[in-house]
């Protein structure tokens, strides 16, 4: 798989304080990578280096083989910051026109209409930003990031201000982007959401990459829970393979079995174990 985003031995320090310590990370075409970690772990710093807003102290980041921050790299990305603001006097359509001009998109009115439809803001094309709710502004921000059909989309907490319906819209949008082969780096605190949509997860703590892999691969067996007439018993460490043997043994001991469940750790368990209770 060709890496759309490739960070190698990436380091960043702010006045002596290490924000990133030798991070290696890749995102492939059409891949949705969830970036998790406590506040201050270095997620936003990594995202900002990838789009050229922050200069790395060491290592490198490349977008489609070009140094992050270079004009060709910037032409290939779309970005929505965690803390962003658009000019209040701009309408949704005017904002998209501005970004079309800045990135040289020839998509015109049809691209703008399609983007607004993708984030379900077609009805608000003429609405000024200052009269929009925070959730609408966040969806408009995603539409803005998609102007010019970027190959890599960097989203920093894109659903923080969204209600459940808004989050579902964004999930649908991310799945659509995967179909279009767009690589997405999704920086989020919402583990359930990351688990639902991401192909791969990377967990950062104290500036280091501490866990990486597919959500299903990161999950581990947590035990087998058996409900008998005498109560619920947990066989820790046992997995799918051991379940029949456990049931057979309990039946042989004269127990009546009502329910058997193989327990697996959730992404939340994996995350908490990886960050070891650290919080920003």
């Amino acid at each position: 798989m060709t890496a759309v985003l490739a960070a190698r031995a990436l380091r960043k320090s702010y006045r002596g304080k290490e924000a990133l310590v030798g991070v290696d990370l890749e995102v492939g075409a059409g891949e949705l990578l969830g970036l998790l970690g406590p506040n201050g772990a270095g997620k936003s710093t990594l995202t900002k280096i990838a789009c050229g807003l922050v200069r790395p102290s060491g290592g490198s980041v490349e977008v489609l083989g070009r140094p992050a921050g270079s004009p060709p790299a910037r032409a290939a990305i779309g970005y929505l910051a965690e803390l962003f603001r658009f000019p209040g006097w701009c309408s949704a359509d005017e904002l998209l026109v501005l970004h079309q001009r800045l990135c040289g998109s020839a998509g015109g009115a049809s691209e703008r209409a399609e983007l607004l439809e993708l984030v379900e803001l077609s009805h608000a094309a003429g609405t000024r930003v200052e009269t929009m709710s925070k959730g609408m502004q966040q969806r408009l921000g995603i539409a803005q990031a998609l102007v010019g059909s970027p190959r890599l989309l960097l989203l920093d907490e894109p659903t923080s201000a969204l209600d459940p319906v808004g989050r579902r819209i964004v999930r649908g949008l991310l799945e659509e982007l995967r179909r279009r082969d767009v690589a997405v780096l999704l920086n989020s605190h919402l583990l359930s959401e990351v688990e639902l949509v991401c192909d791969r997860v990377a967990i950062i703590a104290d500036g280091k990459l501490v866990q990486e892999g597919r959500p299903a691969d990161l999950e581990r067996p947590r035990g087998v829970e058996v409900e008998t007439a005498n109560g619920v018993r947990l066989f820790e460490g046992a997995g799918h393979e051991e379940a029949p043997e456990i049931v057979a043994r309990l039946v042989a001991e004269g127990e009546r079995i009502h329910r058997v469940e193989v327990l697996r750790s959730t992404l939340e368990d994996v995350y908490l174990e990886a960050v070891r209770g650290r919080t920003g």
Binding site: R55, R74, A75, A81, P87
Partner: protein, 286 residues
Amino acid sequence: MARSVITVIGYALREGLRRRVFLAVLLLSLGFLALYGVGAHFAFRDAGGFAEGEAKILDPKAFTGATIFGMAMFTTLFLGSVLAVFLTLGIVRGDAESGLLQPLVVRPIGRTTLLISRFLAAAGLAAAYVLAVYGAALAITWQTGHWAPDHLLGPALALALAVAIVAALSLLASAFLSVTAQGIVVFMVYGAGLTAGLLAQIGHAIQSDTLHSIGHTASWILPFEGLYAASLHALISNTSGLTGVVLQLGPFGGSEPASPALIIWAFIYTALVLALAAAAFARRDL
């Protein structure tokens, strides 16, 4: 690149025109011009009496016209500078802290292009404003007293260049300072420049070479002051006799003509300030 520059200038102009300060400056300007019209009317009407008996050696119309028009130029420069500062307020650090800058900077236009475009918009709008107010004051002066300065266009262009320099200095400050600190620092620099100009006037009146050289040096360190002084000089550069002498003792004392070196230096200075601002912006983590 040209398309990006035009886009950012258009964006900056729309943003600038929607700022409340622009409306405030427009209203203040109308108030100033109205007051100036009333003042000019009565000044010209009563000037004959002031120069009575000496009419042959002191031209009351030239004396009154140059004095009140010099005052109009001071106010025009001040209001133009206020506009230039507010149009560049928070362009780098302020907008970065509010999250307004990042969506623009990630686009493939380059930080320097973005910065220069913002400067062109702010300086262009402030210069156009200065030219408009200068023209209005000139028309009022002619209408009320039938007096016009010795040079019409030179002083206006010098004032326009002066506010462009103020805009460049303000842009540089915005790369380092928060919005409030930027405003305070730029107005203090502006005040320091005008104070140096006043020192030069006093030095000229009391024939103090030290004070005069302080003013002269300041006009090179802060060329907007030198340009202002030169524009004042251009108003009366051809006025001779007792009128010229009396004017030199007043608000026009110490003013020097705009030498080609000063004009060239003003452009080089603006370019240097912008280059420094661009370098600071390029190194800044957003």
